[in-house]
């Protein structure tokens, strides 16, 4: 995005959980353009603000703790500030997390940015019994400090004013931290070297900052310097000084970080004033139970159960509404249109409308699920769930945080895979993205219900529950395997900030729900829609030519279509040890494209509407309880919809997407075969 048409540009920075998203919304009125930072899968949010007649572009930088070169997010933020040179960087500091917020603020100042500080959550600090003298903070740091309370909007106008002012009057505070005589001398020497040998560099970065980074052995800066013709000289000088410092004060990087934190402590001491004796913290109070090993787990499981109830049972009227409206009313309406060729009305009714219906019928459940999940997330409870499972997950060399993408995956695998981004360690993130598809998503449920209901009767509920559990167990086992082989690495460990419990904020919840539901609707949705069309086409045509829409209702006819032939060949070869018939095989094949299709394609193959499907399957005795269970397990494990594969490719690359495909099909085959084997040995038919 270029700067055309806008008169100014600012960036929003801050550590996680300081209310940055809310501030962004307050400033931009919620109008944001969402995309990706170039070359990476990190989200970029841009909005506009009008102040003093100037139009200002507001760029939301990723939430980061510092500006090192160790993480993609930090590099993005750093490079944006240095290359795009925003007119102002608004650093959002949380009044209840001062130290860490200010550490980032100092880092931004050292980078030479034109910083103004938004001191957010001052009301919460007041509740904890202290107040921050922001005027004093302003004089110490030398940049404007504006207190705000984001949820109510207090202070936002002053913030906008301050932004307008800062665009005109730039303040820079590069020397905000004093590193002690010895190090300062080293810094000056490097600065001199840089200024004399490569002055062009100082146009981009402050010389002092480069010096600091060289002493810290910042890989990004070292790389950039080494590319200069005079680079080697500069680097040699820097290394020389580094070695000297190492002897005198120890590892320069650690020293520098410590010294920054000392400065932060000094500042905090000077500006915080106690106002009242704080009372007990509700968060700690509740956490004493919620994070308790024994009590916390049943509570968490209960909450998840209630979440599922909410998603499935409370959304039922909407689901049926969609079903009746689209698969019933619209469908029949389309079929009744006169004057158009038969194949066209069939395409319209059984292809397109059925396709749209297949997607929309899942929408309420998924939306409700994500809504409930977002509420739990916003309240802060999800972090505690991660804490509870951490010890168990640790045995599989995975961080507790992995549980969150898995739970999201229960709604829809597509946002579940995407949620793996939240895990910092490369190896752990890749592993999580690859095992997330094993979470039994919503789309698989109809298959369980129809087949389980038809064949297993009363045991169906238990069988379905066991499948959900099986999914998690397999995810952990595969995760461990991956961590032992492809993604080896010591567990860098799980570190997470536990936000205080807060009442859920409607805006935040709505945004999160919409973003995840959107993934389903657009990514998965389009795939499912196309898949339905393909199924339709392959069902009404065959090697003998066009069979006509009667094929959709006549089981004899459909045997002759492409679909039927495919099914029969699969059933007699690959799936023969499982004892599944050709219809089941075909359904599996289409399920490869989208699990949502399995039930509807089965309905077509039996020539009945979906309501009668269960009875028909039971009558036909196409499955025995054992083969039915094995079938359900296969559906659980084998490739999730193509949309999920696409997401895996998005996050990890083509190589891993193919790997996911292969391992899941193999695993599914092995597991269902084993089920049949063990079952037979135990005497089931």
């Amino acid at each position: 995005m270029t700067n055309e048409g806008k008169r100014a540009r600012i960036a929003l920075a801050g550590i996680p959980n300081v209310g940055k998203s809310l501030i962004f919304n307050r400033l931009t009125g919620g109008r944001a353009w969402v995309g990706n930072w170039p070359g990476v899968t990190v989200e970029k949010k841009v909005g506009t603000l009008k102040v003093n007649g100037i139009e200002v572009e507001v760029v939301d930088l990723p939430g980061i703790y510092s500006l090192t070169a160790y993480s993609v997010d930090e590099l993005i933020a750093r490079n944006f500030i240095v290359e795009e040179k925003p007119d102002v960087v608004v650093c959002i500091v949380s009044a209840i997390n001062l130290e860490r917020s200010l550490y980032l603020a100092l880092s931004l100042l050292e980078l030479g940015a034109n910083v103004i500080i938004d001191l957010n959550m001052v009301d919460l600090a007041e509740k904890e019994g202290y107040r921050i003298n922001y005027k004093k903070l302003e004089s110490i740091l030398g940049v404007p400090v504006i207190p705000t309370i984001a949820p109510t909007g207090r202070g936002i106008d002053k913030l906008k004013e301050a932004i307008g002012k800062a665009i005109r009057e730039k303040k820079v505070q590069i020397r905000i931290v004093d590193y002690g005589r010895i190090v300062e001398e080293a810094i000056s020497k490097i600065e001199e070297t840089i200024r004399s040998l490569a002055p062009e560099l100082t146009e981009k970065y402050p010389a002092r900052w480069i010096a600091l980074k060289l002493l810290e052995e910042d890989s990004d800066i070292v790389g950039k310097v080494s590319k200069l013709p005079v680079g080697k000289e500069i680097l040699d000088k820097a290394n020389q000084l580094r070695e000297m410092l190492k002897e005198k004060i120890g590892d320069p990087e650690s020293y520098i970080v410590e010294r920054r934190y000392e400065r932060v402590s000094e500042v905090v001491k000077a500006v915080v004033e106690k106002v009242a004796i704080p009372k007990v913290s509700m968060t700690d109070l509740l956490d004493s139970i919620l994070t308790h090993k024994v009590v916390g787990i049943p509570f968490a499981l209960s909450v998840i159960y209630l979440l599922f109830r909410f998603a499935f049972e409370v959304s039922a009227p909407l689901v049926d509404l969609v079903d009746v409206a689209i698969n019933g009313y619209l469908h029949d309406l389309a079929l009744g249109i006169h004057g158009l060729p038969e194949w066209f009305t069939s395409l319209l009714a059984d292809g397109i409308i059925a396709g749209v219906g297949a997607v929309l019928v899942f929408l309420p459940v998924i939306a409700f699920f994500f809504l409930g999940f977002a509420v739990l997330e916003d309240v802060g409870y999800m972090a505690r769930v991660a804490f509870l499972v951490d010890k168990v997950f640790h045995k599989f060399n995975l961080p507790g945080k992995t549980v969150i993408p898995l739970i999201i995956g229960f709604g829809c695998n597509v946002p579940g895979v995407m949620a793996a981004r939240g895990i910092e360690d490369e190896n752990e993130r890749k592993t999580t993205a690859l095992i997330a598809p094993l979470a039994s998503c919503n789309a698989r449920l109809p298959v369980y219900l129809v087949i389980g209901g038809a064949i297993l009767g009363a045991m169906a509920g238990f069988a379905i529950l066991s499948l959900y559990v099986l999914g998690i167990i397999l995810a952990l086992i595969v995760g461990l395997l991956l961590r032992r082989t492809l993604f080896k690495g010591a567990s860098t460990g799980f570190i997470m900030e536990l936000p205080p419990y807060m009442a859920p904020r409607l805006g935040n919840v709505a945004i999160k729900t919409w973003e995840r539901t959107k993934r389903f609707l657009f990514k998965a949705g389009t795939v499912i829609f196309l898949a339905t069309l393909i199924v339709w086409f392959l069902s009404v045509t065959g090697p003998g030519g066009y069979l006509g829409p009667e094929a959709l209702e006549n089981p004899q006819l459909i045997r002759e279509s492409w679909v039927g032939i495919l099914g029969r060949s699969l059933a007699s070869t690959v799936f023969s040890p499982m004892g599944w018939d050709w219809r089941a095989a075909v359904a599996l094949f289409f399920g490869f494209i989208a699990k949502e299709i399995v039930v509807s394609s089965m309905a077509i193959l039996y020539g009945v509407g979906e309501e009668k499907l269960m009875d028909v399957i039971a009558e036909n005795q196409a499955f025995t309880p054992l083969t039915a269970y094995a079938y359900m397990a296969f559906v659980l494990i084998y490739v999730p919809c193509i949309a999920t594969l696409a997401m895996v490719r998005n996050e990890l690359g083509l190589k891993y997407a193919i790997l996911a495909l292969i391992y899941e099909v193999l695993l599914a085959y092995i597991v269902s075969l084993s089920i049949i084997g063990i079952g037979s040995a135990l005497g089931f038919s």
Binding site: I96, L124, K127, E128, P278, K279, V280, S281, M282, T283, L285, L286, S288, I289, L290, V295, P298, F299, L301, S302, V303, Y305, L306, F308, R309, F310, E313, V314, S315, A316, P317, D320, L321, V324, A458, M459, G461, F462, L465, P500, Y501, M502
Partner: protein, 159 residues
Amino acid sequence: MESGKSIFKRYMYVIIPMEVMLGLAYLMVGLIAIINWYLGTIGAGEILYPDYVPGDLGVSLVMLSIGFLMILSVYYWFRREIMKSLAATILGLGLAVAAMVMQVLVIIASWLNSIIVNEPITYEELKLGFLRADALLGYTALPLLYVPLRILRKTTITQ
């Protein structure tokens, strides 16, 4: 740690006995639910209290958790760990109310559903839904929440 809100301590003499009763009630319902589930899967015909307790493992889990929390609260109270007792009370009652609300929502949803698919649902069925054990016990739990929440507000910081 001082928390000298004696007025509210007196209320605790109401809450704690209620928690004992409710806690036991929830535990019992939870156990019956498991029994009913088992009876359902082996197809043994009659289940216990079919109008009130479903044979559902999930419901049983929630009931047992709530009962456990309430008993835990009483336990902490007698060990003089007042804050933990308060926490357990709030969470136990909170979960109870959540389960009740969920059941109510589900019944309302099924009523809406019956209108949409044109399979009318009888008044009897609705009534039974609203009177199911998890809802019933939840109605009792709801007013009890007032006391611990009041104490919470006076003695803690809510953020």
